[in-house]
Amino acid sequence: MGAAAKQGKKRPAPSAERSLDWLNLFVGNIQTGFGPFIAVYLTTRGWTETSIGLALSLGTVAAMASQIPAGALVDAIRHKAWVVILSILAFSISALLFAIQPAPLAVYVAEILHSFSSCTLSPAIAAISLAVAGPAVLGLRFGRNARFAAIGNGVGAVMMGACGYYVSAQSVFFLTAALSLPALVPLSTLVRVDHTGVQAAGNGTVRTKHERPTQVLTDRRLLTFACSAMLFTLGNAAMLPLIGNTLTKTVGAAADLVIAACIVLPQLIVALLSPAVGRMAETKGRRVILLSGLISLPIRGVVFALLPSPVPIVLVQALDGLAGACLGVLVPLITSDIAGRSGHYNLALGFVGFAVGIGATLSTALAGWIGDRHGQPLAFVTLAACGLAACVLVLSALPETKPA
């Protein structure tokens, strides 16, 4: 509170705060987007599985390769709002490419465009949040970001799902392109706010220190945090597909409904919890919040291994929402604690994103490999062990990063 009052002079304009809410909502809207529909859509266009797999892998590789360079690029560009505008436009161009001309070359270009713009979009929004809210109340800001992104995700998933089911897979891509337009509206305010924010930081007491990029990337806290985020994602990303797999075998006709619940419920929890998580990260510190998010993964894994039936599965999926809220708030927040004023905030965010990407990519392969050889329960336990390893790493090696 005191810290917020100290900032009185450049107190974030409520309009800027609200614009950020809307921006997160609309971006969440398009970001759930067409990803899950690409495979179905290309299948209806006569693409074979092999070629679809190739296109999707290209997207994954492009995303991994562009995380860190994209972060550095966002650092270098002074007006982050323009980065967001261009990223959103790239998003909609990518969607239109899919919709209009699903020929191989266009699909590859669309995949790369989509991957790269995702890598510039989130860091740029985090950077704007930092400029709007200031470091003292950043936890609250990221809490709101995560809430509105989750709402956007949920609403987007419902709209796209309905469109895909009742109209056509192609219409999903047109819808994504159309939904990117309202995302540009809140940016008309943020273009100005970003500018004044930069000025205030320039003549204020909190000056950017301008460290060397290598100094930031070799910070032991950043490395430890990135490593634990990677371990968590390694255990987490395959959890949902594995649940889906289990459910289709055990539940029968209602499986799709239960799977839908497993996807929607965590989003609701994220929307509910994120602001509280952000507030508690400011009062109780980052470590305890991070640990409570991470520990939910081993709990889920063990329960799924022991009780593979719908009711416990859906209930325990709520914990995924807790983890989602904690990680959603803490990834930008802890990174800002470490590198927020180094002049390389987005580079550091890109680095953490890269680590998370590695975890996500290896996760399904790991779970599939173990599941095929030793059965699903052991696959769940292995994923749980990854989550536990993340906890142990944070407990033993990550100090509290909250500025005193």
């Binding site: 266009r45 006569g46 074979t48 092999t50 070629s51 001309q101 889906g244 006709a253 499986a255 839908a260």
Partner: protein, 198 residues
């Protein structure tokens, strides 16, 4: 490219030339284009080779679709047409990859993602991608080719399957790299449906 089908025996032929060519051609689906298309009709290795050499995506074929086997038309001095061309009337064929399969209640069951063929190139089973929500929990199931009922129509043929969701749900997942794949066959008590491929 089609996957080598692992049913029982060791196939050497990947896919019937006809299905490949037809699959590509039908994806043009432009009524005004031509009433018939021409198939390279030499049934020997030349014909199959030509079909196998065509790209495996509908979109790519749709540009070259009017003349399967020929390279995408060079602006000048088009290569001579293949010697044996057999006309195939519109509505006499359909592409099958990516087509919807509907159940007895008319609801969509899934999309055809692959066709398994035997050593003679005859289709044995259709692999359909079934169920799931936003891509999670969908799985592939191989259905005996004879269980598919094709109803010619415009613009698309209706491909139906007389199994309900529960029966499909109970079917084992099709995994291409397993030693032997299990395909959902006709019910043993009912007399087999009239075979289309023999």
């Amino acid at each position: 490219m089609m996957r080598i089908c692992p049913i029982g025996h060791h196939p050497s032929v990947l896919i019937a030339a006809g299905i490949m060519a037809i699959g590509g051609l039908a994806s043009t689906r432009q009524p005004g284009l031509a009433a018939t298309v021409e198939l390279i009709s030499s049934a020997g290795p030349a014909g199959q080779g030509a079909a196998a050499a065509t790209p495996d995506q509908g979109p790519a074929l749709s540009t070259a679709g009017a003349k399967p086997g020929s390279k995408p038309a060079a602006p000048t001095a088009a290569p001579p047409l293949p010697a044996h061309l057999e006309p195939l009337a519109l509505h006499d064929y359909t592409g099958i990859l990516g087509k919807k399969i509907v159940g007895p209640d008319g609801k969509e069951l899934g999309l055809v993602v692959d066709v398994l063929v035997d050593a003679q190139g005859h289709p044995r089973a259709a692999v359909i991608d079934f169920g799931g929500f936003l891509g999670v929990g969908s799985r592939k199931i191989a259905i005996d080719w004879r269980l598919l009922k094709l109803t010619p129509g415009q613009p698309d043929w209706k491909i139906s399957l007389n199994l309900d969701r529960a029966e499909i749900q109970a079917a084992p997942e099709y995994k291409p790299d397993e030693a032997s794949a299990k395909i959902v066959g006709p019910a043993p008590k009912a007399s087999p449906l009239p075979a289309k491929d023999k």
